[in-house]
Symmetry: D2
Subunit: 349 residues, 4 copies
Amino acid sequence: MKKMEVGILGATGMVGQRFLSLLEHHPWFEATWLAASDRSAGKKYGEACNWRLRSPMPVAARDLEVHECKPGGAPQLIFSSLDSKVAGEIEKEFARAGHVVVSNSSNHRMDADVPLLIPEVNPDHLALVGAQRKQRGWSGMIVTNPNCTTVGLVMSLAPLERAFGLSKVMMTSMQAVSGAGYPGVPTLDILGNVIPYISGEEEKVERETQKLLGQLVDGRVQPGDFAVSAHCNRVMVEDGHTESISVALRQKVSLGELIEAWRRFRSLPQERHLPSAPQHPIVVRDEADRPQPRLDAETEHGMATVIGRVRPCPVLEFKYTALSHNTIRGAAGAALLNAELMRSEGYLD
Amino acid sequence: MKKMEVGILGATGMVGQRFLSLLEHHPWFEATWLAASDRSAGKKYGEACNWRLRSPMPVAARDLEVHECKPGGAPQLIFSSLDSKVAGEIEKEFARAGHVVVSNSSNHRMDADVPLLIPEVNPDHLALVGAQRKQRGWSGMIVTNPNCTTVGLVMSLAPLERAFGLSKVMMTSMQAVSGAGYPGVPTLDILGNVIPYISGEEEKVERETQKLLGQLVDGRVQPGDFAVSAHCNRVMVEDGHTESISVALRQKVSLGELIEAWRRFRSLPQERHLPSAPQHPIVVRDEADRPQPRLDAETEHGMATVIGRVRPCPVLEFKYTALSHNTIRGAAGAALLNAELMRSEGYLD
Amino acid sequence: MKKMEVGILGATGMVGQRFLSLLEHHPWFEATWLAASDRSAGKKYGEACNWRLRSPMPVAARDLEVHECKPGGAPQLIFSSLDSKVAGEIEKEFARAGHVVVSNSSNHRMDADVPLLIPEVNPDHLALVGAQRKQRGWSGMIVTNPNCTTVGLVMSLAPLERAFGLSKVMMTSMQAVSGAGYPGVPTLDILGNVIPYISGEEEKVERETQKLLGQLVDGRVQPGDFAVSAHCNRVMVEDGHTESISVALRQKVSLGELIEAWRRFRSLPQERHLPSAPQHPIVVRDEADRPQPRLDAETEHGMATVIGRVRPCPVLEFKYTALSHNTIRGAAGAALLNAELMRSEGYLD
Amino acid sequence: MKKMEVGILGATGMVGQRFLSLLEHHPWFEATWLAASDRSAGKKYGEACNWRLRSPMPVAARDLEVHECKPGGAPQLIFSSLDSKVAGEIEKEFARAGHVVVSNSSNHRMDADVPLLIPEVNPDHLALVGAQRKQRGWSGMIVTNPNCTTVGLVMSLAPLERAFGLSKVMMTSMQAVSGAGYPGVPTLDILGNVIPYISGEEEKVERETQKLLGQLVDGRVQPGDFAVSAHCNRVMVEDGHTESISVALRQKVSLGELIEAWRRFRSLPQERHLPSAPQHPIVVRDEADRPQPRLDAETEHGMATVIGRVRPCPVLEFKYTALSHNTIRGAAGAALLNAELMRSEGYLD
């Protein structure tokens, strides 16, 4: 099978680097077209990019030319990890020009006709693109994945919502610095410190969670009928967002039933064996002190959500800790899995 | 006025060092008697102690002999920062021998006849010592201060409980490594990491909060009538526990009234100008990204609780971030202020 | 005595903040005029500055207007901590306009007619300003202090050069992130890492050391007649540059004589009791594992150089560790002490 | 080919964990016998060991019983990573009982009849075991690898000594915390800090370097005829010792010849394709700011020494930065490669 060529908008950033790294040995897709800001355009990727991942830059990427963020010459499938300051217009321009834009940027996530997608959670929301293309008159489309903090939360909530119904969700995050991109967080701000604020993050988590767990009714997403509150903090961690979560459910269940619901959770990406799908989307650990970002963020190649410390909550009903890799499952890997779902659904034919 | 001599149990530990540092220029008390484990007993303090504070070891402490943790020869007033493995029996032995033991250890905090005290919050609970001495037949007494994580939480809750009544409290902590003592947390455990577990901590926070905000009725503490849930995490911070808190109140109030209740909060230690009392026990900051442990833990010499990010909570009613210095307000400074209150109440005459 | 008004170029940067902090209670000088980049000009300092020091912003600074970096209206004495990209021209413009520019920037340090000054080491080099003013036709002048890494090295070498003569110097630095300014070093670059390179730093250390320890002969500085080699590394430390140093001397001396030379070192700033002069410019510690930046950088208010681990070197003759606070003694405090020397020498009358 | 069974002394420690991890898929050896301190003896490895590596504990190790450190029942080949407090006697006991002890402990490294071995550097020193067995009357033997800091230094020096002759070596290390084992360095000691002292380390580096680069003459090692000076520092890095090195050579060479000597360096382990041998024992990087421990420590599975920043040294002749993974190439991987060499030389038949 010939691999499908794909392009990356924002290829030199932290998430762009993850895209390239995850695509290096991908069985379906091959990154052949890279674009970034005007500062980088015209250079070779190897020169333009300050590569920050521990794994080396894919050899094939080094000599690719970095293009301007304009549609001409780009392949059909485009991953976007553009800064939200510019992503809004550029992504629309690509969709208008016929490209399938699978975006990690926040700009269009809450648009009523744009799917905000986690393949394990709400694959049916993909159907929104029909209305999107019609209303907007586009030959292409935009599909988005959630914020890096939302993903771990929603992965842990989805089996509970399905099995028992959610009523209330309280989440406090301790987020890794890689989530802020590069150069991102200055060392003088975070060395031996906690920053209890990330601009716009709490609002994103609260709204995206309800959209993701909402029902598609008459072509519109009915937001999930539960309350969500987020406290977002930055800590001195490289990769992996840790979340302290409390939930109240609509049904009385035991701790054992809760854990069982997580452990048996499988979904479409697992059934279809999508290349980036984790075998176990949720891993529940029994140790008293796990998950920990340094030890557990890369579980299932960074695509699993790791849950631990499941116990009763005196205020809501249950509390637990969840961990998710913020630049893999929470960004590049999320978009990649979205594209794999879309391909298996025939959207990329 | 001649200073009163005081002793310190556990003088070589992190909290013991804080005691010595805070007592160095204290107007009422003077540390003249130090005790520690058998390993240190018999040595000079300067040799026995691996001093870890940034401020230098008080000169007067260097040549003091380190005693065994036995009552003979010790002054009346004893501060205890012993490890909880041994504190239980030793503190009772000192109280039995007539000493006033002002303890930072957790062992006796939840004993029905032992005051668990924050002078700004429940100074009337001190009256429990009457029953304590009578029942136990002691000429001395034991008075305790709360866990380092409880203090900041309760300082922030007390004005709300007083003014509006509390109904529900959810707290997620990001705790400094100094709270685990020395050698404490191994670097390999916390470098670039979060540990979502501190043994026994959540139970302490939940129970102590209810005792501290309880009412003294017929010589017994009626625990506060509200639910508390704690998630405790360790992060790579030196000093200062940061807490993401959500509360539900018994009365409808505005954000402004909430902030006003904190800002106008003054209590007995302020009225009596106790030497270690912060002028403003609660400092509310307006910036979007404060408090931060690196910048704010030492507010009012580490004795204030700093609150910020006050905003509505979609699940309970309000959410905010609170910060408190864990080895000052949360340990040595807490015990010191307790002793000052006791002196001003005539318990040390 | 009325305080002398001073201005600060680059007032919003890390070193600018240190200037304001050190000047807050200064007995001779008062910061009344602040300037920064165009982005900040016109705002109040409290709004323009992202204050990053642990000590709070001086109240008097908050409402000062931030000016453009142009001479009109500025006081006679100007401290400069401008970025080297712009410092060269701006400092000359101020000197031409009659200002005494006491600069921490690197641009003019190696100019033959500009004093590169450490008041304890080469106060006589100040005489260079005579020629400077004449040749350049300036009514003002420029005087500089060395690079933050050079200062600790040269402070430790000066007593050896004076007493025994230096022949070879090898220095490896482990430099704090605050030396790179703000935002400075990205967290993703330094978290759990060492960066073995700081652009231009090694060259600065090697040349500045020779100029500082050189002799003023016929109005020119004859560079010190010894070899210097520097390895410069960045580590995850907030403040304080640690240096592993080996030296060969021109005279045979014992370890005891070496230490004695450091311990008895006093100089002009100490004799004249200049306000910012450390009482002991060099502090030698006997412990096996000191100095350490976290514990020792603030020795003598950050103005002392702390030396430890003095021992024979199998390759050169002696080796030791030196520590110096990079934004105090290595930047703002250095310039301040220069200005104090200049005042005591009558240059500011 | 049936795998050879091997035992590990000190299996629960940091280096013991590395042994197990490196042996998990080893083509020649299989870890079947584990021993540790009395505290662990009798338990299953999965219970006894606080596994700290990012890669998970090998499944096969979990249920192995942890033995006492006594020879009975152990396989012929024994890897030792015992604490030096107990390694001396225990290793002798195993050698006496006929075991081939391949040790990472420091106790016997400097014994005249014990090979201190780096297979790329001095494979001929292995011949010392003949005299060792004869003199000591052992049927087994002890073979050692160098200290974790020595390895990177000597790997970088060996090609220079061979090609040009060494005259002087100056090394300043910035060492990772994993080198101190677990629990090892307390967080309060190293957070935002540098510790300029590691007990006994500098002496080890200086003596071991001379033994490793010495000549085997008449059955004795003639130490290398060059001076070595080491400054050893601890920094907040997880894995990978970074070293700033200056050298003087016996022959005039150009920078290009130096780099060429490193790049073309291959040795016995490469020629014989030993399973753990890095393809390129030395990797020279051209970037201005490499090697960095976070990015480069795992080069060639942690078995290569990475060199960068090669430039002239004003005091000696050349200076450069070298990096080596301290628990792989500097400990478990070093011993493993030694055992592979011994097997290929027929010592394990």
